[in-house]
Symmetry: C2
Amino acid sequence: MSQAECRACRGDWPPAAAFIAACGSAKAYLHDDQFFPGWTVLVLDRHVTELYELDGGERGALMEAVSDVARALASVYGAVKMNYELLGNQLPHIHWHLIPRTADDPIPRAPVWTLPHEPRALAPGEQRTRIEAIRAQLR
Amino acid sequence: MSQAECRACRGDWPPAAAFIAACGSAKAYLHDDQFFPGWTVLVLDRHVTELYELDGGERGALMEAVSDVARALASVYGAVKMNYELLGNQLPHIHWHLIPRTADDPIPRAPVWTLPHEPRALAPGEQRTRIEAIRAQLR
């Protein structure tokens, strides 16, 4: 996939209203689907596909951002476990799925992908409140 | 979960025959289920649950190992994309799932967890051959 074809590079995804924070060379956004509350995507600014295609310094900085955002999400959402996933099967532009798993999770022992469900979009006000809460933990 | 209750700390998992290589503070093993060929787990030596509970140096070293193993697997298995997943929903001892996704993958656009299947164990000779091939790429 070229950068011209990439939704992340074109700015078509994620939507601007979901923006949480810039974290070094990546940006965090609340995921469109909040069925699992707090699901966040951390999108690398530049178009790279694999972790091993970054140089060591870039990779280290990205992973510090992953760690910082995961810690903030765990705090805001009361996670019993965080899930960290870099897949890119549909969009091969590095973006981490960071998913708080909570005590009242419908499938606490399984990956989120195993539960078919209708995506849950937040109302704009609720989305802003959630984003502010995450930002406050990132400071 | 205490270390005494942890299968990874007790040495009950992964099985020794699946050992690929020591990578700094973690060890790589071929996953029991080879339905998706090359699925590897990289298990941290010590009992830590979340990425943000490691200090920066440990986290950086672990992610260099993740990157090195992923690169080796991509080469051996001809991956079109690597998947990198740190979940711990069942075993909260840091272990990365590193999964080569190939052109003849049955579900190339979806996470591996969405395809129910019978686990595929390799015959011992095939397992050894695969492990040797991965080791050769890690050198």
